[in-house]
């Protein structure tokens, strides 16, 4: 028996899928499904290492964090590899965005117990965070360059 708490498909303005997330509670614990081409592309340029990531047992290959966002609060949330999904201070873990293979879709077995309200709030926070990150660092920029030639 599974209980889907929330499914979210976040799209860009150009109707491209930015991030798909589904979170559900099952008899064997909480599961988070994540799929995103855009985030895998963003982090894959930084190299890779193996790490254990907020899960009960599985190890995942994780891309290094992107130094271009190191002065943003999300940088710390993307580095919270060993934390639970939501820690005791309410601080959320967004490190799943750095996992290799999320362009194909990855399901994480989460450790810990969560209320419906906490999980809904978590996904809403991720939604706001990823939107800001996309707008500031990942969105294709339309730049017009004006070239003028002056004849002397």
């Amino acid at each position: 028996m599974n209980e889907i708490i929330k499914t979210d498909i976040i799209k860009t303005k150009s109707n491209k899928n930015l991030l798909t997330m589904q979170i559900k509670r099952t008899h064997s614990g909480c599961k988070l499904f994540v799929k995103s081409d855009i985030f895998e592309d963003f982090f894959s340029k930084n190299g890779i290492y193996q790490d254990k990531l907020m899960t009960n047992s599985d190890s995942h290959e994780v891309y290094k964090n992107n130094s271009s966002i190191s002065n943003r609060e999300i940088y710390r949330k993307l580095n919270a590899l060993d934390d639970s999904l939501i820690n005791s201070d309410g601080y959320i873990n967004a490190s799943f965005l750095r996992v290799k293979g999320i362009s194909q879709g990855v399901t994480f077995d989460l450790s810990g117990l969560y209320s419906k309200e906490a999980l809904t709030s978590y996904i809403n926070s991720i939604k706001i965070m990823t939107k800001e990150l996309y707008e500031e660092f990942m969105k294709p920029q339309n730049q017009s360059i004006k070239i003028s030639i002056e004849e002397g």
Binding site: M1, T7, D8, L113, S115
Partner: protein
């Protein structure tokens, strides 16, 4: 201020415990057994236990814990030597076999799978509650009930605010509709004090997410610790603890209240399964920058 029962919209109490009916009616016995042993979706209460604070004439040491919050007139907190033994020169003095003093009686864990069908409930529990009841009870004493579950999913569902809201509504109906509790004015006034959140060991707040990992502070920075109507010490005990009830003068009241909470929790888990058959609500939220499609159950 006392609540007038006629002002409450009591539609149908979930279950009113009546010992004579329970002992004499096969239907009632079967209904209760079905309720507490139902295995629909395997979401159910498996075990329970309780803590009773007070002053005790004699209680086996293995069931006794010290508790500094209990203040009795006729009983003192036992010293450490009585509880744990002590060294007397070259000799080691063993701890006392039984304890006299103030503190709490911690019951064994009772399994719901060991039902005596001739009685209709867990005879071991009732016998224990009768045998080890406190001799002095006052307003500093609480009655805490622990329940554990068949799976993490069951536990998680009881962390939802829906459960807390339902509990707050039903527990008041239960106490008011149960003569053994409502007609005992001392018990009832102590219950209402706790229910209203006017007892510093029992705040009317719900914060399962911060309690579940043993972090006893709220996300807003305040610190009420585990002192809430419902406490979620999953990391410590794997249970949900109801701290709302005051310690009762009579063991019969303790039995009624404990069985109600176990039955209420079980019934809630059972009801959830039916509600899940409802259609999914689908809503589409459009945003200027990013559109979001949400499917929520």
């Amino acid at each position: 201020m006392p609540i007038n029962p006629s002002e409450l919209n009591i539609i149908e109490p979930m279950f009113v415990y009546e010992p004579t009916e329970l002992e004499n009616s096969n239907n009632t016995i079967q209904r209760l057994i079905d309720s507490i042993t139902q295995k629909d979706g395997n979401l159910r209460v498996t075990n329970f236990g309780y803590e009773l604070e007070g002053g005790f004439d004699e209680i086996p040491r293995k069931y006794f814990h010290s508790d500094g919050s209990v203040e009795c007139n006729d009983y003192e907190e036992p010293d450490d030597g009585e509880l744990n033994g002590y060294s007397d020169g070259d000799d080691w003095i063993e701890p006392c076999e039984s304890i006299t003093g103030s503190g709490e009686c911690v019951s064994p864990v009772f399994s719901l799978d060991k039902i005596d069908k001739n009685i209709g409930y867990n005879k071991t529990f009732r016998d224990f509650a009768k045998k080890h009841h406190a001799q002095e009870i006052n307003s500093t004493c609480g009655h805490h009930i622990h329940v554990s579950f068949s799976s993490e999913l069951a536990y998680s569902r009881l962390m939802d605010s829906d459960f807390f809201n339902e509990f707050e509504k039903e527990v008041l109906k239960f106490v008011i509709s149960t003569p053994e509790l409502y007609n005992d004015k001392t018990y009832y006034s102590r219950f209402i004090e706790r229910y209203d959140g006017d007892n510093s060991y029992c705040y009317k707040r719900h914060s399962p997410q911060s309690q579940v990992n043993g972090h006893w502070h709220f996300l807003d920075g305040s610190d009420a610790g585990r002192y809430t109507h419902l406490n979620y010490p999953y990391g410590n005990h794997g249970t949900i603890e109801c701290r709302l009830f005051p310690a009762p003068e009579k063991s019969e009241q303790l039995v009624i209240v404990t069985e109600w909470f176990v039955n209420f929790t079980n019934s809630y888990l059972h009801t959830l399964r039916k509600e899940r058959a409802k259609k999914h609500n689908v809503k589409v939220i459009e945003n200027e920058e990013i559109t979001s499609i949400e499917v929520q159950i």
